[in-house]
């Protein structure tokens, strides 16, 4: 650990110095935006060390967290919501306010009430019904890319317009503001403090307005459902409507696009796997699970509600506990040869969408979008690679990402 870090961020007294490791999803080697970087491979090194350790600087605002490395232990933490709470109000507290994003920052039993309300809208059965529209959108975008030339900026021309469009339709929002929304998402997840704050304010104002509009002029969309919904025999409060709207907006904005970006970057660099999936598209469903395992994007954080000794670590009430999906997904105790990407891997019980009651509400939609995106891309674009003289930029952080992915099939 660097000395200046100790000075700016003193270790809590209860953390034994021998449990501290110089590791951070923000500052470790490979986490800053890096040309041709592989941040997921970079974090896998923690598996040479202990199952749990303390990282003095492991959140966006430089706070320390315990780091749980094994999939088995992450499952225990994420399933035990009584000891490890989600109640953090990250979004609101950044604004100096105090309301939870729903259901993300609620604990059971309140959490379950809202999950039950929202689950049917995102169920696997419901997502199957959305499939034709998703496929149509993928085909339209890819056909126009193929017609325009033999290379493209994948994130800008396909991944974002595809994923964000599906998502905006779902929310009942117009397409013409797509670029604006993507910009807000970028600032929110990857911007510095002032940018984050400004983006958060815009998103809240936007969701409040949209909710007000849908109360007056109902449509056939998600926000209309939310403003008309009832829980326990009463309508939702304005704060609850906002908590749901803001979360779903933020959670769906760039997650799927980023996953598609990492997946196509992998295939661009691995021609054999690319050809295998192109010639046997039935394999894509299973392969997409392996790519979700290898390239997950979210660090999951919980707060201890009481003192507990966990695998030898003295976790104290109020401590942050990090369950980074990219770390558990490279656990050799859970996955054979975790650093080998094997598109035919079976029994792939990865945690890209978390374990426990907060399992990603959008996971079924996200999976279908990823599979359809890969299917249509491989069916319509001939063998592609990273364009010579360009380098995709990948980064770590609270949400991992990839930019400047220029694909070429000339």
């Amino acid at each position: 650990m660097r000395k200046n870090q100790i000075a700016s961020n003193p270790l809590p007294d209860h953390v034994p110095p021998e449990m501290v490791r110089d590791f951070s999803l923000f500052t470790s080697p490979g986490m800053a935006p890096t040309a041709n970087g592989d941040p997921h491979a970079a974090v896998a090194c923690v598996h040479d060390g202990p199952p749990i350790f303390y990282s003095p600087n492991n959140t966006r605002d430089g706070q320390g967290t315990w780091v749980i490395t094994r999939a088995k232990d992450q499952r225990t933490v994420l399933q035990d919501t009584e000891t490890f709470s989600s109640h953090r109000s990250i979004f609101a507290s950044a604004l100096g306010e105090n309301w939870p994003m729903i259901p993300l920052e609620l604990d059971p039993p309140a959490h379950g009430i809202f999950r039950s309300l929202l689950n049917p809208l995102f169920s696997p059965q419901r997502v199957t019904a959305l499939e034709p529209a998703v496929r149509e959108r993928a085909v339209a975008l890819i056909d126009s890319i193929a017609a325009a030339g033999t290379s493209c900026d994948l994130m800008k021309e396909f991944a974002f317009p595809f994923a964000v469009n599906i998502f905006l339709r779902f929310l009942g929002l117009p397409d013409d503001r797509l670029t604006t929304f993507v910009g807000w998402g970028k600032n929110l997840f990857h911007g510095d403090v002032p940018k984050r704050l400004a983006a958060a304010q815009r998103i809240v104002a936007f969701i409040d307005e949209l909710a007000a509009l849908r109360r007056k002029v109902p449509g056939d969309d998600f926000m209309t459902f939310v403003v008309q919904a009832q829980v326990q025999g009463r309508p939702l409060s304005d704060e609850e409507v906002r908590g749901i709207g803001v979360l779903v907006f933020a959670a769906g904005l760039d997650t799927v696009a980023t996953a598609i970006g990492f997946d196509l970057a992998y295939l661009a660099r691995n021609q054999k796997d690319q050809e295998w999936l192109r010639s046997e598209p039935d394999r894509i469903v299973l392969a997409a699970e392996e790519l979700l395992r290898a390239y997950p994007t979210v660090q999951i954080i919980r707060v201890a509600t009481k003192d507990i000794d966990f695998e030898g670590a003295p976790i104290r009430k109020g401590d942050y506990v990090s369950c980074a999906s990219m770390i558990a997904n490279r656990d050799p105790a859970e996955f054979d040869c975790p650093n080998t990407i094997n598109l035919a891997r079976e029994h792939n019980r990865h945690t890209a969408f978390a374990y426990g009651p907060h399992r990603c509400l959008g996971s079924h939609l996200a999976r279908r979008e990823i599979v359809i995106g890969l299917e249509e891309w491989l069916a319509r674009i001939p063998p592609f690679r990273i364009k010579e003289g360009t380098a995709p930029i990948a980064h770590g952080g609270h949400v991992f990402g990839i930019e400047n992915l220029i694909l070429d099939w000339s």
Binding site: R115, N119, S123, E346, R359
Partner: protein, 67 residues
């Protein structure tokens, strides 16, 4: 073969259902229906694949039970 279903552990990942929608039936929210599942001999392979795909370990394979 029988699959023991621990409903309280199910978090609706629907991985079991993705393997075998006719064996692992979901409710309207996308979570597994309550009750252990009796598996016919011809379905055993598919059923055990589905059970072993559950990220939460909500499905336990019981080989002692005859179908």
């Amino acid at each position: 073969m029988r699959i023991i279903v621990h409903n309280t552990k199910c978090q609706g990942h629907a991985r079991c259902w993705a393997h075998a929608p006719d064996i692992f039936k979901l409710d309207d929210e996308g979570y597994i229906l309550p009750g252990d599942i009796k598996v016919a001999e011809k379905d055993e392979r598919l059923a055990s694949q589905g059970a072993r795909s559950c990220p939460e370990r909500a499905l336990v394979i019981d080989l002692t039970a005859a179908a």
